[in-house]
Assembly symmetry: D3
Homo-oligomer: 329 residues x 6
């Protein structure tokens, strides 16, 4: 197994639990899952599909909290250990141009540090779903930017650094409903206001990823390429199944997929993933990485109801992606 180098800081505080002796899996679940129950704040119906980052001497996060009206919104939270979270019961209030900050719903956030600040991206309801963007320095005030794209789009995920001098984003163009299709595209922007140079990245193939695919956590820069965890959806005889796998994208031209897992890395198999507001969903939205050890803590939503935590090693995942790659066709 080649040693894969991760471009990231050391993160000794990273939450961690060794792989169970009985497990053969590359990605394994935290034994005390779910780490965030559906009712962690008084108004919440469910908390899932959320994003965390190292912040100060601990961690901060942006959490999707659907309240009991089943309105979807995003909240900030803080933690010392990245397992036990204090989530602000009030949704984040964004400042910015009123033409842009008005919204119908907000969900499925991602958070990433780029250069000098944290950027948040999410699915933003504004005459249909599009990609909302904002930045914060302190998780106190959030400055909202222009929506990245025209509707209809979901799963906008920024790269952790500029490419070709531009901000770079993956996303999944959609339609107005529960889109039964989904390809991943790549786009660039010089200023986070105007976006272009759109390139196709990948589309559904057979099996667990046969109905749609979409980017998960922000891509991780490694010596072997951008490591992208992504979700895929299969249409069973009785509904959908949301699993996730991973891909390696070319470092300079990330729309070129070098490797992509044929098998999933994780599929919904526990009760908290199979039973809930949306049955049979594991949906990853964030990772924490400790570069020296190659440890990855991965946060994912279970059944669109709770938040779970899983673990892996970057080396093992990269190895797995290469060894179990879809054959090119």
């Amino acid at each position: 197994m080649t040693k894969t180098t991760v471009v990231a800081q050391p993160l000794p505080l990273l939450p961690w639990q060794d792989r169970p002796a009985t497990s053969r899996d590359v990605v394994w679940r935290y034994s005390a899952n779910p780490i965030i129950p559906r009712d962690a704040i008084p108004t919440s119906n469910s908390i899932f599909n959320s994003a965390v980052v190292p912040f100060k001497d601990g961690f901060a996060g942006v959490f999707r909290c659907d309240d009991k009206t089943r309105t979807m919104n995003i909240h900030r939270g803080f933690s010392r250990d990245a397992i036990h979270w204090e989530i602000d019961p009030r949704p984040i209030e964004f400042t910015g141009d009123p033409e842009v900050t008005k919204f119908e719903y907000r969900y499925d956030p991602r958070v990433i540090w780029i250069e000098d600040r944290y950027y948040v991206s999410w699915c933003n309801g504004n005459h249909g779903p599009t990609i909302g963007l904002a930045y914060t320095h302190d998780f106190e005030t959030f400055q909202q930017l222009e929506n990245a794209f025209l509707p209809y789009n979901r799963n906008g995920v920024l790269f952790p650094r500029k490419l070709h001098g531009n901000f770079a984003m993956l996303s999944r163009p959609s339609d107005r409903g529960h889109t039964p299709f989904g390809d991943i595209f790549y786009s660039e922007s010089p200023d986070l206001t105007y976006w272009g140079k759109h390139r196709f990245v990948m589309e559904p193939v057979g099996g667990w990823q046969s109905t749609k695919v979409g980017p998960g956590p922000n891509p991780i820069e490694t010596s072997e390429g951008w490591l992208l965890f992504y979700h895929g959806v299969l249409t069973s005889c009785n509904g959908f199944v949301y699993s996730f796998g991973a891909a390696l994208l070319d470092l300079d031209q990330p729309w070129k997929v070098m490797y992509r897992t044929a098998p999933y890395l994780m599929s919904p198999q526990t009760l908290y993933e199979c039973v809930g507001d949306t049955p049979n969903v594991v949906f990853p939205c964030a990772t924490l990485i400790d570069a020296p050890t190659g440890r990855i803590a991965l946060y994912y939503g279970g059944a669109d109801t709770v938040t779970g935590l899983a673990f892996t090693y970057v080396d093992e995942v990269v190895e797995f992606v290469k060894r179990n790659a879809l054959s090119r066709s």
Copy 2:
């Protein structure tokens, strides 16, 4: 909190269990749920969406029992404590005009005392779903009346007294399948044969009640208006979720909605509500009320498979509805 007066009799026998110390919910579940398992009678596949009333020195009820052919029919039952039920394994036989008593299926009954007898209403299959009506004095013989409406309709729910000299009913016009829409309407009848003066009451709005809404138990007369528990349906990324909330309707013109909950009061969260023949369903069909204490015992179906029991106080519900009302738009 204003004291809300309920127009109802004392019912000291009302089943009751105090709110758990850890709960912040306005409506809380009975700890020994489900009170009626799916196989409470030898032929039953499931028993749910059923109605109970005080009767003699105990209680009587009309129960939806789908048998193992999955034929839907309604059965009477009796209980001393309203928790443990003896359900007649034979479906109710109705007397009446043969043009009217012929049927394809019967389901989702409601029962209410009006003036001098008990009235039963249900979804009656007669060239499509419509509202069946009958009365009984003793739960021994049931006299069936004309179907209230032309097909296609479900969830016909009578008011406990006449309005403007007429019987009054809420219902949800539907179509021939698993209708993906649903508004609540109000209608009157001088004689329970001819119905008219139809008025629109409410339609789906966002969140948990965004796909369809329908009336639940018979409305409860209070000093603050008619208290109506109603179910709402949300279309998730993988199927439906049936929750319930409540509304206050104008006492004289019940088609005028004064308040209506933005959040739900209860959504499917336990295994017996999330897993079963129809996943993710809580569906209320009956309440018992003890006027002096304001206690309400609410009966609901879980996952279209079993019957659950929940509790609340009329004061708290009314307060909750007002404080958490949808803003008028």
Copy 3:
């Protein structure tokens, strides 16, 4: 051929044209069709599916005129010969309870004289389609009554006299869109406010009437039963085809179908029936009858765009219905 007696007045002014020598059809078209073009009034996009009656020394009618916003509304009109019509460019204004006269759209009117006045019924948009009802003595003022039914319903057609002391109506329960199903039902009302005693009449069968059926012009009383022209819809390999046939209903129990045509009487075959806003539609809404001669002039919409006229003899139609009846199954 038995002589069929019609219960109707002499109408010597009835428009008429003999069957072309080359035709074998029971119902034949007027050679100068369409009699009303799409732009007969300045604002109209189309004029079709309309109703006419004898009035004073000529005729009056209620016409569906979709304007160029494609808003559907109904207008009155007058004629000396029932072929050339003066249509009022302003929609009819109805007086009545404001809860009832508010509407979203009005279309497909029928008009009938019952006892002492003219009654108009139409598809009335009020939180979905239902049956609007009004009466007029003079085609100057129109008094609107309660909507007959809860939504969703179309094609409400009154009988020309009371049955069992009640007003009687046929209609077709529907849903909220372009309903792909449709059965005919019968209902009664003592007062035109409250409706009940709903009875199933007929449903789609094979061929031209395999997708839906609905009542056309008001039923005609004959010695052989109620003669009902009705439309039927077939789903072809590329859209719908709307044709019409006829049935004989029991005089006392009109929900009993004695005979019903297996073949259609007319299907869309001319350019003005096949090409227009809704291709392939003939849709009858009114008849004029001259009892002594048994002549029937039938008015129908072509392609939802123009109004056509056709002719037949009551004797021939009744004979045709009997000889070409669907076999009972």
Copy 4:
């Protein structure tokens, strides 16, 4: 109860567990279900809808193992007790004409001994689903034959002996997706290459079998007719439910259904049947029979994820089918 004779060998090794004292069911579950977990081989996502036969001094089987790419394929396995199975982690490789052995997927196998060898039939992806056929003498080499039918077909199930000198098969013609319809047909072949003499057997009726029906395990020859376990699908308010019942087919003309259960024999009620990749599925694919005792061990898939085992007596099932038969209409 008449004694029903089974045409089969003694099978004293048949796995067995007596009916629990508390059970009134004709078919009851093995207490240690599921007998095969989803991950019984390293690559498997799920193992279900599989077939077993007596083989040498134990048992052999062909198992549907979906791997973690969610590719569907079939594997052989062996067991001493028919409960604990060694499944070959490599899919079966078939020899034969390359035009025929190429495939897109393989699933839902059945295995049956006819005359001198074992025959395997399965749903074979070859420009859409059709019926794959092969034989083996030893479960080492498998000779693939021509696909039985043109696409689109599923659930091809051979009879254990020839009829009228021909091989005989039940199947369920389908379409290209998750077919929302399904009738059972009967076909014959003189040589397993050319098939014909197709006869309709049965179609969906109400209740648990109202959306589609398909043959389950290979028919069992009894003195009362061919005993066929078959699955049926109901469309609930929130997805499908797959249950199973049984029928008795005429011994000489198996397309003539003598009796067919109105109630199901088993419906999904346990967690391992209700929760999994396809919620709410019990799907039987194989039986073992001990003729002297009339004991039947029935193998079925749970939630398209695991394999379960259930038990019954042929006498009881036959009696149940007769006593609970659908009335002829």
Copy 5:
């Protein structure tokens, strides 16, 4: 242009009209089209998608005549010049096994001479559409054979001679409705009772043939391969368009497509092809060929309403197919 030899008899009586001077088309229409109007027999609503063959000193044919109930059936007819037809107003009555001759509908016949008799194939309604088969010596008596396949299938088209000692057929597996998909398959039978050795031939590609494809007239044997005219369907912004093109199939292995037209040969462009019961349809079902001159007369349905005639030369068509072939991909 290579000279293409046709394996067929001389047919000097073949109807013919030279290509108009202004036309650049390989296939051109008869100037007096449609040759058969919709009402050529008293009961017919439409006559189209029909088949003709040389017979005695003239021609015989089998015609799809939908009557005015819109029941689909097939009738025989005779002609001296293959343009003016006498069609028997009574549907063909088939003799044979009552299990097989019972039917729900019959449509889209093809007729072909093989060895010693005429064979008729058609879409036969028997618990869904399948392929009906019969033979006749004299167009007086027709002996029906077993249905070729299980439902659901349409467009069964026999080859004019045996291949590999077997009868050979092309068909298009379908589903129960107006199938939105369609591939062509090849099958063989030693005896016209049992069918097998199914091989995939071709599927939809882009453009006019992007939704479904199906075989048209019986294949024509030429020195360049089997010449197959086939229809293709495109889904426009407002419905379907049925056009036709041609392919050359390998003489020995007809499932191998050597060439297939990228452009269509004819698309619906005249009023009688664009306007009718099914708008925008040209659908070829038969050809007549004069081997010495290479003239082909092609019969096709227009708008599912009338029958049209078109002409071409075998040389030109073969040349066109080769020069305008889809590139292999």
Copy 6:
């Protein structure tokens, strides 16, 4: 009527025909329509939805020509009188980045002069429909730019000058099929590579524009605002109807709709608009304007088959839009 000033050059060559004496329409058809038949070039199946501009001493255009494979592509053409066109039988070849110039199809072009060159925009198939962009100086060479947006989008229409220093575009976000919805949005770009500042403009309302709306020809700058002709789609009982109307947008903030026609300006009413590959379509894509006279020549597609020409005066259209505006709600 206020005099409306148009910001445009004189164009004395503009094709023109006075309004017929009998017409009351604001927009009237050219009497010799269609000006471009479906087969104007040898390979074409249809020529429609095309764009023209003044060029040198005549006119140039970009035309949608679907060929007989039904492949959609765009061709240049030239004309002296803007009525008789020479269309290049070869599609336009674009130069540019190979990642961008690769395509699946091209259709529905618009052409506009901005500052120093002509810009072409069209629906560009590149992993789904998006907006293709290119410029030309001479209609000889065309330089393709980046696709404006991520898929899925149609009807990208540039403004004739920069706004706020940016290029400006209207478009209609879509999905992958024949989108049954459609809103118009506004976007800006500093460089025609990166796009942002997306603003919602308008959505479907009732009547002819109730299913979707999309921008037609490039907006025309007038003293009363941007004059935008736009198409709207209605879902009839049997398919779609495509009509067009007009709106006035705020000159500085074009996403603010000042007026928008309630009635359509033109709907499909002639045979060449109602009958063709897509029945019932008028679809405008270009205008020519003569500023001194206020004359507008409007080019539109008929039935997705041919190109038609219509005329109006800017004053009359602006007046009509204001007088017949939708009421604000």
